[in-house]
């Protein structure tokens, strides 16, 4: 039977893994190998994709992907738990502690002053960034969905200035599947760190050790940091650390990165192995008697054949041999094998496939998982089903339930917007605005009393106070929205949204994984564009990047709030939600257009791990809020301050630098007047509006500050309703700010970035003119 023919709750043993290329390799790396037990947990609300449990963790895949896996029904229930076994106490091998490889105080250390570089490598969502923050004291953002880290980040270990730890994006194996996984593999292969800190999630040890096996083959000094040990022991599991250390041949240190437990011991071991260059004691774990030793003989034969090629290419031999068998094209190109050698290798591999009864990739994956299985049965007592897993299942009954998932999603997002714009953020904004107005009034009175020059007085009150002050008052709304987005992300809900939105997103040519960048886009386009690196296909990446600007970022909030307050105060939340919805709808239309033209073809497979729900850490959330508030304040007092001063000067003087009585004679009016005919059909044929929109290219918040300066106190009331509506729509859809464009240029290149500016402006103009026409016909003036 095929995997998708299983009924909910049934368990089957995998017999064959079909498919081809990197997707198949990804299946195998994720533990979907012949012999693995898989239980069908549930289907997504729209019937596709499905969620399965294997090796004690949850994986999602589409029905079309499940069809490629042949399985046989079994009675055995895949609970992921072990019976308690009593084990003898193992002797501590003492690896990485001095004395194991050399007498204490001696050895062959690296010269004093050598920088000790470490690569922090592990599966996605196993706590690498949390550990990185603990090690370095940095404040990198951590989340609870796979793929938060998309680029490498460096920092020195606290108290050890001669060290450099690099936090790498999470990978499941050294056969990279997505572009950010290539960053990690290339770092370890090319930059040759002095040591590797391999972080392993103890609660999901089988799958995590798969990567450990491959890292051991790299022949680089290594320490295994066994993370989430607190969770493991709390649920009745144990790990015989000494035995595990002995079997793996590298130091193993139990830690809890989130609780800062075991970090000092980890640092000591890591620095020791790096300083003394203590390499793993074993790399050869292909059992000589496993299945007649077929894989063992094949690996060693190929290792002999390619020995000098691997040496010339600077590649670890054992790693290279494994990858040659797997037919890894990236590595094969580095080895520069001759035709004769290629043919010999092919013969050896074919013979192995014949004897083993599995194809090459499955045979290697099976060899690794067989070793892991032996290690786990010797050293690991799996926990009872964890509290976190049981809790997640209960929550998922509602949040990803067949009839409840979509309504709950709409309800949650509506609650987020309502609380942000009306209850929490809105109220705090009013308080802050009142404070700023009072301060502005006092300054105005003080300047009048001091008989300050009219120009200086105007610059300060009508320029700086009006411009910067108006932007500052939106700080509470932005911080509140980020607070809720951060809660959704850290709790693990966003990964679920990807799961149940996959089918819908496929209709517009994307995969469920694209929902993550798109939701981040509601916060800021820059990180959203960067987070598309988690998508394994270039087509999906490009398409998602081009759609991200349609998700209205928080920087546009001041514009909406400003006009909605002025024109539609009684429908505040409704209009705000409507604007966000309009952005999404236009995005969908554009996606459908792209799907049929620029990006024909199918979305990438949806093979993703579903993390357990976790309570968001207060420190993590507060840290994110502080970062966002600081960024916003910095922007207000730098870019926006300068922009307001420049705009005030340009609108106060003419070409001969005479102070103008009528602002229509100013430099700004003349320059911006060129755009007036273009914007006139939208009801925005006013040079002041054109100027405001141009300033929005630097930072979206500038639109409001510029309008405050140019229109004065009447800014919110001078426009007719139809023009205000079209301005709102134009602001929603026109070109993203310069930082977002820079980030798009980096990901897609200059041509795409330039094209996007024009494209967004055209769409914005079209949509705004339609809205203007509708409002006009409906009786708005």
């Amino acid at each position: 039977m095929k995997l998708n023919e299983l009924k909910i709750g049934q368990t089957a043993v995998v017999k064959q893994v079909g498919g081809e290329g990197s997707l198949r390799q990804h299946f195998l790396d994720m533990g979907v190998i012949p012999g693995a037990e898989i239980t069908l947990v549930k289907y997504a609300p729209m019937g596709d994709p499905l969620e399965v449990m294997l090796h004690g963790y949850k994986l999602t895949l589409r029905i079309s992907e499940a069809e490629k896996i042949t399985a046989e029904l079994t009675e055995h229930k895949n609970t992921g738990t072990d019976k308690k076994t009593h084990r003898k106490k193992s002797k501590h091998p003492g690896l990485g502690e001095g004395g194991r490889f050399h007498p204490k105080g001696s050895g062959n250390p690296l010269p004093e002053g050598t920088k000790l570089t470490f690569a922090l490598v592990g599966n996605q969502n196993c706590g690498k960034t949390t550990l990185f923050n603990q090690l370095t004291g940095a404040n990198q953002h951590v989340g609870n969905f796979p793929g938060v880290t998309v680029d490498r980040k460096d920092g020195a270990i606290k108290g050890y200035p001669d060290t450099l730890v690099t936090d790498l994006p999470g990978i499941y194996s050294m056969s990279p599947y997505s572009s950010e996984e290539i960053v990690s593999r290339n770092f370890v292969l090319n930059e040759k760190p002095r040591a590797i800190i391999n972080i392993v999630d103890a609660t999901n040890i089988e799958r995590n050790l798969y990567l450990t096996m491959q890292l051991l083959e790299m022949d680089v000094p290594m320490v295994v940091a066994l993370n989430m040990m607190d969770e493991m022991t709390a649920n009745g599991g144990t790990v015989d650390i000494n035995r595990l250390e002995e079997l793996l041949g590298v130091p193993v240190v139990p830690i809890s990165a989130a609780k800062n437990q075991g970090i000092d011991e980890l640092v000591e071991h890591a620095i020791h192995v790096a300083h003394y260059q203590e390499k793993p004691l074993r790399q050869d774990y292909c059992g000589g008697k496993d299945h007649g030793g077929t894989v063992h003989r094949c690996l060693h034969a190929i290792a002999h054949l390619i020995e000098h090629h691997a040496e010339d290419a600077g590649l670890p031999l054992r790693f290279a041999a494994g990858k040659v068998i797997e037919n890894d094209s990236l590595l094969l190109s580095q080895l520069t094998l001759e035709q004769n050698e290629k043919e010999m290798i092919e013969h050896i591999v074919l013979q192995m496939e014949k004897e083993r009864g599995l194809d090459r990739s499955a045979a290697i994956a099976d060899m690794r998982f067989s070793f892991i299985s032996r290690v786990c049965s010797a050293a690991v007592t799996k926990p009872m089903r964890s509290k976190e897993s049981i809790r997640s299942e209960k929550i998922d009954r509602i949040l990803t339930g067949k009839w409840t998932a979509i309504p709950m999603f709409i309800l949650i997002m509506a609650a987020v917007f309502f609380l942000t714009f009306n209850v929490i953020g809105g109220t705090m904004q009013e308080w802050l605005k009142a404070g700023i107005d009072a301060l502005s009034g006092m300054t105005d009175a003080a300047l009048t009393d001091a008989n300050v020059n009219k120009v200086v007085h105007g610059l300060l009150t009508e320029g700086i106070f009006a411009g910067v002050g108006s932007v500052l008052s939106f700080l509470p709304i932005i911080v509140t929205l980020f607070f809720f987005l951060s809660l959704l992300e850290d709790s693990g809900y966003i990964a679920r949204v990807a799961f149940f939105m996959d089918k819908l997103l496929r209709k517009i040519g994307l995969s469920g994984r694209s929902i993550v960048p798109l939701l981040i886009g509601f916060g800021c386009t820059v990180p959203a564009v960067m987070s598309t690196r988690t998508l394994p296909s270039e087509r999906d990446r490009k398409m998602t990047i081009l759609l991200t600007p349609f998700m209205s970022c928080t920087a546009k909030l001041p514009i909406y709030a400003f006009f909605v307050d002025a024109f539609f105060p009684q429908y505040k939340a409704l209009i705000m939600t409507g604007l966000y919805t309009l952005g999404i709808l236009v995005g969908i239309l554009v996606a459908l257009l792209f799907k049929g033209t620029l990006f024909k073809g199918e979305a990438v497979p949806f093979v993703m791990e579903l993390p357990n729900y976790r309570l968001p850490g207060a420190r993590n959330v507060l840290q994110l809020l502080w970062e966002k508030a600081k960024d916003f304040l910095t922007k207000a007092f730098t870019v926006i301050l300068i922009a307001t001063i420049v705009i005030w000067l340009l609108q106060s003087f003419d070409w001969h630098f005479n102070l103008v009585e009528n602002k229509g004679d100013s430099i700004l009016a003349m320059a911006a007047g060129l755009l007036v005919p273009v914007m006139a059909p939208l009801g925005l044929g006013d040079w002041r509006i054109c100027t405001s929109l141009i300033s929005g290219f630097m930072a979206k918040e500038s639109v409001v500050s510029t309008m405050e300066i140019l229109f004065g106190e009447n800014a919110g009331t001078v426009l007719p309703v139809a023009a205000a509506s079209s301005l709102l729509v134009f602001s929603l859809l026109y070109t993203p700010c310069v930082a977002a464009i820079a980030s798009i240029r980096r990901e897609l290149g200059r041509k795409w970035a330039a094209g996007l500016i024009v494209w967004q402006c055209v769409i914005a103009w079209t949509a705004a003119s339609i809205v203007h026409l509708i409002c006009f016909l409906a009786g708005g003036t």
Binding site: D151, R152, K153, N186, L447, R533, K635, L641, I645
Partner: protein
Amino acid sequence: MNIWDFIIIAAIAAAVVIAVIVIVRNKKRGKGCCGDCSRCSGCTEKTRESLHKRLP
């Protein structure tokens, strides 16, 4: 113009100079991601390499 005019103008000029310094410094440090990680030195510490230069 009186003394307050000079004081206010000097204060505004100082604020602009500080703002420019902060913008340039942040651009160099990459504080608050500018998105151009291949040129700037990264969001918090260093991200020296462009991802896509490393792609095969």
